[in-house]
Amino acid sequence: MTETLSDAGGAPLPDTHDMGGAPLVGEIAGRSPTRLALSRLRHDRVAMISGVVIVLLVLLAICAPLVAHLTGHGDTESFRHGSGAALSPENIPVGPNHNFLLGGDDQGRDLLVRLAYGARVSLAVGVLGTLASLVIGTVVGIIAGFYGGWVDTFISRIVDIFLSYPIILFAEALAAVFQPSLTLVFVVVIIFGWTVFARIARGQVLSVREREFVEASRALGARGFRIMFIDMLPNLVAPLIVYYTLTIPVNIVFEATLSFLGIGVKPPTASWGQTLSAAQVGGLYLVRPTFLIFPMILLFITTLSFNLFGDGVRDAFDPRAARTMAK
């Protein structure tokens, strides 16, 4: 990433100056850091390919009813008897054939349709659940960093307490008290997810709080809300977006894990974790390996493409940083 100021006629470019990055050929007008990052992202081939895979997965999720319609197999419909059954007389799921493209599942349902519907749950938890914790965490973090003092101490201690909870154990406890459900998975993702976003937002606010533009805004008579959410927020976006994209696969795996353990999404709602669990019960996958392998591959491709895409987003927003992997 080389940047030569002479390209821009030697004029100081306050916005782009410290971001490094894309060559400024023929354009002198300041491009916002976000636009620069997006253009860098567009040139990252791995990130773009994984982006396309993610779009395909989203399409699969959205078009799940279409998949059901095309195959003629409902998502909770069992095909147990007759020549077109998805279960053998010994209750073994059939392998892939022209009728069931990916084979059947333990209940005689169409695995393809189940996986398409499962994608909805995975992506909803990954994308929307993480988004909710991003929003909550950002608001709380900005408030903590902006007001400081006891507000900051109070919020930071709450974050510490949340981070000390054994999350899986707590999810189990919630599932035992309330019934396991998709809503509960969302609740767990959100109440444990906002904390890290709050930490990041707070740290960023602390670093921009004393900057001139905040002072200028204050001098113009701006009050707390305006300063926090109109002046400061755009300065926090980059690290939050990076962490957001890298958290999506973590939460997708979390949902699959909870559903696998039987404390996540409840049957008959489809979920990849649940399908994997069904494949493993009684060693069913030994007789019909595809029953295990298809959901495994799908889950793997999903997390891999979100991880690769998140890596690309981080490199794009912080070109100086080495490629590390956030935990």
Binding site: S164, Y165, P166, V177, A256, F300, L308, R323, K327
Partner: protein, 325 residues
């Protein structure tokens, strides 16, 4: 230093207190049941009302929840006693104590493997960025980082247990067995190597990435240039000057990861049917066995809190700029 420690310890105790309190609230206030209904969970099937009343009486269900919580706390503080397992009637202390070696063996063994793989891989990749070995390390890391632990566990079982046993008729892993280290070290290794791998490979991947990134940052610092300029060997520069500060972020995540695992590797223990704390807590939560749930949550949170504390202290030794205050 002493003041810092005292303040952190007090906060740690507060955190643990809140943890158990929330568990009690969840089980007694949010999930409100009559004492009889609660007792029925722990009674043999078809028990009559009389015996249910006796069970409810014995387990203290007739007292208001805050009294039961007070009782739990006072027993814990004055006697170090975590109560009685509602389901098995055994002492929770001794049950935890018998399971701790399993979880500790699992966590520590896996940690040794992922550190031994992750850190060297990261260093190798960082000292020759964009070389073949860097790219290989990256591919390895991304592949394993993207496999969920439970999926990797299932795959390992499929290949090394079922496939070898049913197709090749070789037993190289015995499912669900645990041999104590003190009893038979070889048996201990044989019972744990698959669970270790399923935990360690995923972590080794992320540790190699973190090591690489932090090593690259450090190797770009001025003091590394100084070290090279004064004629130190590359080995000394990388391992003596570079590695020490590059390890700081590793220490943080390692402390938290190990602390979390020691509190019970729920997923791995469940998949490999190991009798550890994680599997114990899962069973208790499903049964609504409050003393066990409180105890396991308490132990797990205690490990996390202690790990955080050790990480903070370790910082001061690794990075002379950090002052504990």
């Amino acid at each position: 230093m002493v003041r810092f420690l005292i303040r952190r310890l007090l906060f740690a105790i507060l955190v643990l207190f809140i943890n158990t309190f929330v568990v009690f609230l969840l089980f007694y206030v949010v999930k409100s049941e009559t004492p009889i209904a609660r007792a029925a969970t722990f009674a043999p099937r078809g028990a009559n009302l009389r015996s249910l009343q006796q069970i409810a009486e014995r387990l203290g269900f007739y007292h208001p929840w805050y009294q039961q919580y007070g009782h739990f706390l006072s027993r814990l503080i004055f006697h170090g006693d975590l109560g009685t397992d509602f389901t098995t009637q055994a002492s929770v202390n001794s049950e935890l104590f018998s399971r701790l070696p399993v979880t500790a063996s699992l966590a520590i063994g896996a940690a040794v493997i992922w550190l031994a793989m992750g850190i060297p891989f990261g260093i190798l990749a960082a000292t020759k960025p964009r070389s073949i070995r860097d790219r290989l390390a990256t591919v390895f890391a991304l592949l394993f980082y993207s496999i969920p632990t439970f999926v990797l566990g299932l795959l390992l079982l499929l290949v090394f247990y079922y496939y070898f046993r049913t197709k090749l008729h070789i037993n190289i892993y015995s499912y669900g067995a645990y041999t104590p280290l003190t009893q038979d070290p070889v048996g201990w290794l044989k019972d744990l190597y698959l669970p270790w791998l399923s935990l360690a490979l995923v972590s080794a991947a992320s540790y190699s990435r973190v090591t690489r990134g932090s090593m690259l940052d450090v190797l770009g610092e001025d003091y590394i240039r100084t070290a090279r300029a004064k004629g130190l060997s590359e080995r000394a520069v990388v391992y003596k000057h570079g590695l020490r500060s590059a390890l700081t972020p590793i220490v943080t995540i390692f402390g938290i990861d190990l602390g979390t695992l020691l509190g019970g590797a729920v997923i791995t223990e469940t998949i490999f049917a190991l009798p550890g704390i994680g599997a114990f807590s899962l069973r208790a939560v499903i049964a609504g066995d409050l003393p066990v749930v409180s105890a396991t949550v308490l132990v797990a949170a205690a490990f996390i809190v202690i790990a955080n504390l050790i990480v903070d202290i370790a910082y001061a030794f690794l990075d002379p700029r950090v002052r504990l205050s």
